[in-house]
Amino acid sequence: MTVAVESAAPTPEPPLQMGGLTRFEWTVEGARQAIIGPAWLVAFALTGVGGLAREAGFPFWAAVASTLLIWAGPAQVLFFGSVAAGVAPAAIAFSICVSSMRLLPMCLSLLPLLRGRRTNLMTLILASHFVAVTVWTESMRRVHDVPRDARMAFYFGFAHVCILVTAALTGLGYVLMGDLPKPLGAGLLFLSPIYFITALTRNAREAMDWLAIAFGLALAPVAEQFAPRGFDLLLIGVGGGTAAYLIGRKLKAGREARA
């Protein structure tokens, strides 16, 4: 609530910190940063989803809509793959729900960084829809260079370009399915792992991040053997992530005690 004040106000609401650009200019800047790189990585990685949708008997626009709505590669692959395999709808919904649980920690670690002083709940929920691996890893790093109150505008520009370019290439994948030589198909499938791991490495700032990456890689073959089907990633994330957090905190405390 703002109160009209005449003289030197005790606590006037500080002006929004936008770093000299307007909100629209920040949106354009976000869009620019997406179109010169990251948007194409996620878009090419998801071309295969279009092909899967066609194999499963879905119409063209359903393939495109799956990117706009689900916007999570593994869940889309799971969805069309399961439909093609004739899995029961309830079972499909359940496995997708389990697979997308990983979006929760991503959203929870990104959204507080995006929140400006005047961000309301609706905006946060809208922002959460665009969180997926690429948008998450890129935003976690990039928003640190954006003034607090401009972050949401930047993020929406960045995220919209990513999702729209990807939707277009999902459609392209639908049309071109089957025409691609196998080695190039393998290359498209390799795009996600190589990009994810380098993006994670680039984002790593402290011991905790490095440990989390190492634990995730190392635990995967173990969890694949012993964890219940569908829940292995959850166990890897919570188990390895918690261990990395605890060890990282201990290392940090030790370094601060010595300093």
Partner: protein, 116 residues
């Protein structure tokens, strides 16, 4: 279900009910929780660690048990291409694009060798 539906709309309804909603629920819930999280709190740090570890697990899974054409490339070549990308990343000022291009070139090269 199909009785009350136009056949043309059925795939979209199916997509929304069994694909979109079960996935989106996590984002929706996190919007509410994030509204109350302070970015300097320890929970926030822990959650970042969990998300990072989970994603590294995804990478390992994608390479250990790949789908489609990637499965035709031997395991050693898949991880070899990953290592090539990693080395390029370290050699060229931590550039993600460089790493992706070098890794992809290595993998597609290996794929032509082993598949064709």
């Amino acid at each position: 279900m199909s009785a009350i539906l136009d056949a043309a709309q059925a795939p979209y309804l199916f997509l929304i009910l069994f694909g979109f909603l079960p996935s989106e629920v996590w984002r929706f819930v996190s919007g509410f929780i994030a509204h109350g999280i302070d970015e300097n709190s320890q929970i926030f740090v822990w959650v970042r660690s969990v998300a990072t570890c989970l994603l590294a697990g995804v990478v390992a899974k994608l390479l250990l048990s790949p789908s489609g054409a990637l499965a035709l490339v031997p395991l050693a070549a898949r991880f070899g291409a990953l290592a090539a990308g990693g080395l390029a990343f370290l050699a060229f000022r931590r550039s993600v694009m460089t790493a992706v291009i070098v890794g992809e070139t290595a993998l597609i090269g290996a794929a032509y060798y082993f598949i064709a």
